[in-house]
Amino acid sequence: MIRLLHAEWTKFRTVPGWMAGMAVAALLVVLVALLAGASSDQHGAPPVPTGPGGEPVTDSFYFVHRPLAGDGSITVSVSALESSVPQGLGDLRPGIVPWAKAGLIVKESTRQGSPYAAIMVTRGHGVRMQDNYVNDTAGIPGPVSAGSPRWLRLDRAGDTITGYGSTDGTNWAKAGTARVRGLGSTAQVGLFVASPQAVAGLGATASMSTAAFGDLRLQAGWTDGEWTGEQLGAGSPTFAGYPPPGSGSFTASGGSLTVTGAGDIAPAVRYSLPAAGTIKDILTGTFAALIMVIVVGALFITTEYRQNLIHVTLAAGPGRSRVLLAKAIVLGAVTFVAGLAGAELAVPLGERLCRANGVYMFPVTSSTELRVALGTAALLATASILALSVGAILRSSAGAVTTVIVSTVLPYLLIANPFMPASVANWLTRVTPAAAFAVQQTLVQYPQVANPYTPYNGYYPLAPWAGLAVLAGYAVVGLAVAAVVLHRRDA
């Protein structure tokens, strides 16, 4: 086997075109990264708010607040939560926004991204207890209406915030307890209304919601003062604004309060930060590299057939599957090294250029970054092995190159069509070799945030390594079939 590997490595090494092809593949990954970084210009864009965990957040909602010194408690009832969605320019109609929120919140300050905990009713997901943007716990289910109001209660005891829900105002069910650090001795506490973008098909539009509150009660810690109503984060890049001609408001008459708000208090997703960059965007050059390594992979075997070198190869190594395996190992190793070099160089360079041009990059941990680089190299290596096997089966380089390029690149192109339905896109990224691009995804799906979670937006139906495994499966089956036909056929 060592001798076979050595023979195949010598063959690969001594064809200048193939070595050059691998080098160009790595270079293309870097070049496209530089292009992506250099062509973007977002200088002077407003800063993206980040939460206590460092993740980008949306922190824009209508807040009716008063300071609360130390511990205390607040109770309110909600009897209505209605949303408006624009049907055309300036034409607001009643609509359904499942994650429209109205409730009570305790927040360190009105600063963007400051820590908080909140208890709320939602339009379509019942009572929820949420804190620090990413945490979400379900409470009493069901929608709120005048006939079936909800009472909400929020208690602060140091860093511990407890939220309760009730259907009658006397029997309380605990919705959740959150430990929120950094709330400070005096926090801002009060009512809030948020109304995230309404997802319609493949797009999203700004919405606004109005809630009717009543029965507001305060216990301990409260200083006398007026309620202040304001839209937080009005200029934030994660805020889509009010659908015209709407605006936020707060009116109190008798014991009831009416609050209208827009925006959300949640982690930022692709749709709330369309201009932000991801590592996947930077690594778009992978497609160019993919085409290069597929061509080289197919040629690595079909050239032998064309020049009749295959007779010599099989005479020297009569174990035909072992010859094929040796080829796959050599090809895979060379491609992996080239791909890894390209990705390891492209990601930091591209990120630096993007940041220098004012582009906000979705943050990733260093382990995720390593996974993307290794995954990209593995993707290229696996695709080249697939091309090798298809080349061995078809014995025609044009056919092999087309088959593998079409099965890996075309699905990606199809999902990148804006008119492609999400069900088709998800199916394509599950069953075709293009599923492997999942290994480059870095965005996180949040069930409590409505967003078109489609591959086009960077959210794949399969986990990173599972996606790569789909491509690996094709390569393994390809190799097995190639080994069988290589045995059965005369060379």
């Binding site: 992506a36 977002q42 380089s397 044009a398 199809l414 069509n417 088709v424």
Partner: protein
């Protein structure tokens, strides 16, 4: 010219490869189109989308087979050494390439028409079963509809132009695997790379010059104002690519030793 055409037609007719590729073109185009139309559903919440374009989506797959056929027409001759016989029999090299182009146009036109009409028929039969009914504002796809007729005829022309572009590139590159890599790279990569260009002006420019992104504008029947350029102008860009590739290929064929 007539003997040249007859010779090229005989080559095309008597080898099994082209026949399978043309059948594959039809099957792949119709299959992808039918698959795409059978996974969309029109729910109660309403359903937008360009159904003609969706029904013709298989062209994006079918063009790859048209490209291989075109590449093999010339690269196949280089790898087997047949090209020397061809050029001995037809010393006017430009005529030889022109004859190949004419025969290729003919066979791709026939297969392309079958494939595109088959896709449209599949869409017409499948879509109403998934809720896209006239009552919901989606009448069955029909060639009597102006934009649909334009999309259909344009898709056939697009397939022919991609075949001619591939023939030109293969005449330049000569090696079949590299030719296919160059062609599919040109078709598929430009739209993907265009997505990462941050500057919207450059992004639009790239979409306008890409042979695929520009040419497939011919399939659009809704939201025409959001296209990078108008349908016929887009197909014109693809035609420009094909013409440039054929002229370059022809000049190199005359200037180089075979």
């Amino acid at each position: 010219m007539r003997p040249a055409l007859h010779a090229e037609w005989t080559k095309m007719r008597t080898v099994a490869g082209p026949r399978w590729l043309l059948l594959g073109l039809i099957a792949a185009t119709v299959a992808l189109s039918a698959a795409a139309t059978s996974v969309v559903t029109c729910g109660s919440a309403g359903c937008g989308g360009d159904l003609t374009r969706l029904s013709l989506i298989g062209v994006q797959l079918g063009q790859a087979l048209a490209a291989i056929l075109a590449v093999l027409v010339i690269s196949g001759e280089y790898s087997s050494g047949m090209i020397r016989t061809t050029l001995t029999a037809m010393p006017r090299r430009a005529t030889a390439l022109a004859a190949k182009a004419v025969i290729l146009t003919g066979v791709v036109a026939v297969a392309g028409t079958t494939a595109v009409l088959g896709s449209l028929l599949a869409g017409r039969l499948i879509l109403p079963r998934h809720g896209f009914t006239a009552a919901r504002g989606h009448p069955a796809l029909s060639l009597a509809d102006g934009p649909t007729l334009r999309a259909t005829a344009g898709s056939i022309l697009y397939l022919i132009l991609i075949a001619l572009l591939s023939l030109g590139i293969a005449a330049v590159v000569r090696d079949s695997a590299t030719s296919v890599g160059v062609i599919l790279g040109l078709l598929y990569l430009l739209p993907i790379v265009a997505q990462v260009i941050g500057d919207p002006h450059w992004q639009r420019l790239l979409q306008r010059i890409g042979p695929m992104s520009a040419g497939l504008a011919i399939q659009a029947t809704t939201d025409l104002h959001s296209l990078p350029l108008s349908p016929w102008a887009g197909l014109g860009v693809t035609a420009g690519w094909a013409a440039a590739a054929l002229v370059t290929g022809g000049l190199l064929l005359r200037g180089r030793d075979a």
